[in-house]
């Protein structure tokens, strides 16, 4: 059985990949996907911790997180659609009219 550390480190790596995605991609949808990766990394932590604490709470929290992720995805994608309507592009660099 891998130790708790293994799972935590794995989740940390995934989390970091998610954050990196936010910077590296120039596509709004991929950026949203990166956020999903982060949330999943957190989910992994919850479940791992719940397992080692011996409680179902971790799983239940994951259940809620998935719900939140769904809600966020819905709103996020709606915003992406709205943006696309205005500019015909999904590059975040195209949306820099508000600055300074």
């Amino acid at each position: 059985m891998p130790s708790l550390n293994h799972f935590l480190v794995l989740s940390a790596v995934l989390f970091t990949i998610g954050t990196a995605g936010v910077f590296l991609r120039r596509n709004l949808i991929t950026i949203l996907l990166s956020v999903e990766i982060m949330l999943n990394a957190v989910n992994l932590t919850f479940i791992a911790v719940g397992r080692f604490l011996g409680t179902v709470d971790g799983q239940i929290i994951v259940f809620f997180v998935i719900t939140v992720a769904a809600a966020e995805a819905a709103v996020g994608l709606a915003i992406v659609i709205a943006l696309f309507r205005h500019r015909d592009t999904l590059s975040p660099d195209a949306f820099m009219s508000l600055k300074w």
Binding site: M1, P2, S3, L4, N5, F7, L8, V9, L10, A12, V13, L14, F15, T16, I17, G18, A20, G21, V22, F23, L24, R25, R26, N27, I29, T30, L33, E36, I37, N40, I47, A48, G50, R51, F52, L53, G54, T55, V56, D57, Q59, I60, V62, F63, F64, I66, T67, A70, A71, A74, V75, L77, A78, I79, I81, A82, T89, L90, S91, D93
Partner: protein
């Protein structure tokens, strides 16, 4: 056995996630993410959380990702546009972002590898964790209120998504 499975799933998850991030085509990104989620579901099973694994597959990979796919196809922008030439700031931003990400990874890994299992005292038997019944009871007693809040959350998300994404024609109604 568990170790092999852990490393397999972990490697798949990391690899798929890296590809998601390294991919220019959002369509592939979505698909790769589903792979990553699948791998995570495997890890959940490994952690005695089959219910979570199933939820992960059905809701996350199945529903949410489909929405993503749907939007990608709706907007029909298969590829990310190349970086505008001369956008030095953006390039610098990437570098900074990458460095920061590496630093964060180092910090987290360094910190988390110091966690001791002895800090955690298992309260319940492992087999109870796998019980859907236990989960169900907890969800509708201890977490009933949170559960209700999620309903509002979803209502808000729904209304919001409709408001933002519906076509202009709908406004004629006022």
């Amino acid at each position: 056995m568990d170790g092999i499975l852990f490393y397999t799933f972990g490697a798949i998850a990391v690899l798929a996630s890296l590809l998601v991030v390294g991919q220019r085509n959002p369509m592939y990104s979505v698909l790769l993410l589903i792979v990553s989620f699948g791998a995570l579901a495997g890890l959940y099973v490994l952690l005695d959380a089959p219910f979570a694994a199933v939820t992960q597959i059905i809701i996350y990979a199945g529903a949410i990702m489909v929405v993503f796919l749907f939007v990608v196809m709706l907007l029909n922008v298969p590829r990310e546009e190349p970086a505008p030439p001369g956008l030095l700031a953006a390039a610098r931003g990437r570098t900074i972002g990458t460095i920061l990400a590496i630093v964060l990874a180092v910090e987290l890994v360094w910190a988390l590898s110091r966690v001791r299992e002895e800090w955690f005292r298992p309260g319940e038997a492992a087999e109870r964790l796998t019980s859907v019944r236990e989960i169900g009871v907890a969800l509708f007693t201890k977490y009933a209120f949170a559960f209700e809040v999620t309903s509002i959350l979803i209502l808000v998300a729904m209304v919001g998504a409709v408001v933002l994404a519906r076509k202009e024609a709908a406004d004629e109604r006022r």
